[in-house]
């Protein structure tokens, strides 16, 4: 692992989708739109906006079309939408989506429990979605969920992730994103997995999607940087989680905490922390519970206060 730590990273802000998807409170459409717009203003080049999943499966995302159409689209920013299957893709393309995210699980039990499809069936769906996306001129990022551990099967070995990743690249995925869906990975798991995967495709074809269920997310980001990776998902305020991932599944790594870390270690990200904090302060009332981001809770960077006399 003599990789050079990257000087710059690209963050995909996933709060509006992976974050809000799991919220119990019904979030009004205009609030979602404003949230995405605030994040656009914060400087992200990639934002995962919504999911064109069936409204019965995820009622929170029933207004995907409306949200996607209503957001202000800044030139150069890639507004991603999750598409679980070919039917979702039609809706997404009709709404003007040009960046598609799809997912395939690394464990058979998770795939069946989550979407009632085997991994092989799920890869067939992915084949249809990528083919149709490319015909329509849309780009695809493909997630591998439970890439480190599965709530039903336990640890997932790199040998099981490799063939799924290989297939997704063959199908034409621009990048493959490794999801620690239930937040069990540690830094050694990251380097072990990437030892196996990096021969398949260069570092800039991989993304990392960490959940902070056991508090490991930022240590895992450091381990990812150390093997040369530079694409990270995070969610404003630490919103989100995976409702299918079993008890204790906590949120995505918080964008604020990620930015603080990157600033500290001198890795460029081009996102405005204060504006992300503003977006989090905007959304906190709508979700109706405290946000988990530590930097958000601490109020941001170190600011000094007058010493007592």
């Amino acid at each position: 692992m003599a990789a050079q730590r990257p000087r710059r990273v690209r963050i995909v802000e996933v709060g509006p989708r992976d974050g809000l998807q799991n919220e119990a409170a019904a979030i009004p459409t205009n609030v979602k739109v404003r949230f995405v717009d605030l994040l656009s203003e914060a400087g992200f080049n990639w934002i995962e906006v919504t999911s064109f999943v069936h409204p019965r499966a995820v009622p929170q995302m029933a207004d995907a079309d409306e949200v996607f159409r209503a957001i202000g689209k800044k030139p150069g920013v890639r507004y991603v939408a999750l598409v679980p299957n070919p039917r979702g893709l039609d809706r997404a393309l009709a709404a003007g989506v040009e960046d598609i995210a799809l997912f395939v699980a690394a464990s058979e039990s998770f795939s069946r429990a989550n979407i009632n499809r085997s991994i092989e069936q799920s890869l067939e769906d992915a084949h249809q979605v990528t083919t149709a996306s490319r015909l329509a001129g849309a780009r695809v990022r493909a997630y591998i969920s439970v890439a480190f551990g599965c709530p039903y099967e336990g640890p997932v070995s790199p040998a099981r992730v490799l063939p799924v990743a290989e297939r997704l690249f063959e199908l034409g995925a621009e990048e493959v994103v490794l999801g620690d869906t239930i937040g069990v990975a540690t830094p050694s798991d990251v380097s072990r997995l990437m030892d196996v995967l990096l021969p398949l495709a260069p570092a800039d074809r991989w993304g990392m999607h960490f959940h902070d269920t056991r508090g490991m997310a930022l240590a895992n980001v450091m381990a990812s940087l150390d093997v040369g990776l530079s694409h990270f998902d995070s969610s404003a305020g630490g919103l989100g989680g995976c409702p299918f991932a079993g008890p204790g599944a906590a949120g995505n790594v918080a964008t604020e905490d990620l930015l603080y870390l990157l600033d500290g270690v001198g890795v460029e990200h081009r996102v405005d922390l204060d504006r992300v904090l503003e977006a989090s302060r905007f959304i906190v009332d709508a979700v109706g519970h405290p946000l988990t981001s530590k930097v958000y809770q601490a109020g941001g960077r170190l600011t000094t206060i007058p010493a007592p006399r």
Copy 2:
């Protein structure tokens, strides 16, 4: 930074002191004693038990003598007590304490705000305490608080920490513990500080005391391991914080999360995670609020659940 990552670490469990000290609820003496005993059973070789501070300053620690006398002392375990000044030392020695912790701040404003003493006056106190301790056969670990940043002065440069550390070693401190009291450090701060400090004394004469105020604690532990450090403070459940450290000051790095990380990266610690979780579950009712440890919240290590049919 070509240091060898240590194969084994030593953890000082500070929950009973740095943790409970900051709790609003009055914790009964017998509960504190049972908490320490549960931690002894979890396998720690070092436990910071209490503080012989003036009861008016920290009412929660008014029963320091009683607690220290009542705990079951396992052979080979070092039961540490914090001593803020020479008066506290007399009480500690009378109670049978053989391991003293003292602290000196790295910033003048923090020292004055916290204990109404200049750094120089505080070093004079430390001189008295170390001299008297050694005469009594007790050993001293010396904390440098706000070693990375100060709520009144902002970032603290390594050049300001160095002379304080030098003096503490000269006074006979067995180890110097670098406290990120307000949780602002990032991994680069750790390596920058240790670049300056390690020429002064070998890695096993330094301890690291991280607070997780901005979520950086475990990433900082990784950075510490990477420069060869192997002594860490942590608190069960993530109890604690610093009431003097200004708004947003959060708890110590949680022992459970630290153990999970160390297990993941293959660093030995000889502490039983399940028993620490038991100690945390025991203390949670007494403190009357949820604990912040993510591993505690997630229920521990990855355990599998039956897949739905």
